[in-house]
Symmetry: C2
């Protein structure tokens, strides 16, 4: 029975898992659930993942949730996954665990908080919350500074310093990619000070393309749709939407 | 060269690492830093852990931070650690990763937020913040309910259902133990509805004693000190301290 990946590509950890499967030629079936339509909250999906979050996988009789755990499981269970993704060497592997653990409580809440409280708020049925978004900016900046000065300090192409990405690069970069939903000027303002981070995002993208771009298409489409809505609003004399204001003015 | 563990036992992930070392007869040196005295924020410690958090380890030339990554490293690198702590079996191991990942963004912020914003606030130089503590209570209750109904639903002694604890049991239970700092009535109110969780805490304690109790002594002493200060305040006609009010009234 084929591996099933329960997914909404609008979710950044979902994208990391999907890209990993594609890059490593893992044969899988993508079971699409729409978070905006609350399809991850049904009792049927709770049988797959009782935490009602995406992604989750089913491999035969084995069910698993949490994207880092899934990435490690896939790296260990499917033949042909190159060692650099999750090295057998205990020291390298431990560094990956350290980055992934740090990510949970540091980088991850940054982009999530910004995007949820600004551009994604209407789709999620939430109010715009500039204070929460500002808090998200602080978390993001502090975390990007740490990535730049700790893991990328030796000018390595990837977080562990090697020439090939690990699951940690993929997970963290997919999170930062969520900022694509913002206006270009806001994204540039947030990422601008971190040149090494920008290069590392590009390195991870190049190392996983064409899959990286294909899986992120949904973000680009959402961004385009939003921009069109804004232009339409402006052409109709303002439209009165928060969407037309740049993020910086809403925070 | 002996393994060094940089530690303040007031920190719950530190306690998990220390208990793990003791239970598994890992020969280590405990390098004590006092968080209340900001000793984890010095440039000297930043050379060990640039994130300036505890715990961290140094094993020969290898440095590592993040407690889950440390527990996994120790389980894989030191001879004599029983398999149940971090099983070789990929399915069991993946479930441990899943619990540990879930813990970061779900259970962990609960006790931390409650305790930091109430009883530990003065020692940390922070104001009491009843709103933040109330938010922490919500997070804690939601997470305990999930532990009770997902991982403990089959009445197993431990989270993975076996008869021996894993690193996930140790990590999560040490976090919940932080609630010992609260008044007995507040702790009972918060844990009271979760009978299976209470039994699981006791199972983890029994499986790791006498080390569990020894490493948690610091919490019990801090609790006793706080109670004595309160009594002293009451004997002097009130004392005017927030300490005398039960947590429930401060939230």
């Amino acid at each position: 029975m084929k591996l099933k990946v329960y997914a909404d590509r609008m979710s950044q950890p979902v994208r990391a898992v999907i890209i990993f499967c594609k890059v490593n030629c893992i044969n899988y079936e993508e079971v699409r659930l729409d978070i905006a339509k609350r399809q991850h909250l049904t009792p049927k999906y709770a049988e797959i993942n009782p935490m009602k979050q995406l992604p989750a996988i089913v491999d035969g009789r084995f069910k698993l949730f949490e994207s880092h755990a899934i990435l490690i499981y896939l790296a260990c269970s499917f033949p042909g996954v190159a060692d650099h993704w999750y090295p057998v060497d205990v020291f390298k592997r431990s560094k990956i665990h350290s980055v992934l653990d740090w990510h949970h409580s540091n980088l991850h809440p940054g982009p999530v908080t910004i995007v949820r409280n600004t551009v994604l708020a209407p789709a999620l049925g939430r109010p715009f919350n500039p204070e929460a978004a500002a808090e998200g900016e602080k978390i993001l900046s502090a975390s990007l500074a740490k990535i730049e000065t700790v893991w990328l300090k030796d000018n390595g192409r990837f977080l562990l310093g090697g020439n090939q990405p690990s699951i940690a690069d993929l997970s963290l970069v997919c999170d930062i990619m969520q900022l694509e939903l913002l206006d270009e000027s806001d994204r540039d303002r947030l990422l601008g000070p971190y040149k090494k981070v920008q290069q590392w995002i590009e390195n991870t993208r190049n190392a996983t393309n064409p899959h990286f771009d294909e899986v992120h298409k949904i973000l680009m489409k959402a961004k385009e749709k939003r921009q069109n809505q804004r232009l339409k609003g402006e052409n109709h004399g303002g439209g009165g939407s928060d969407m037309k204001k740049p993020l910086v003015s809403r925070i």
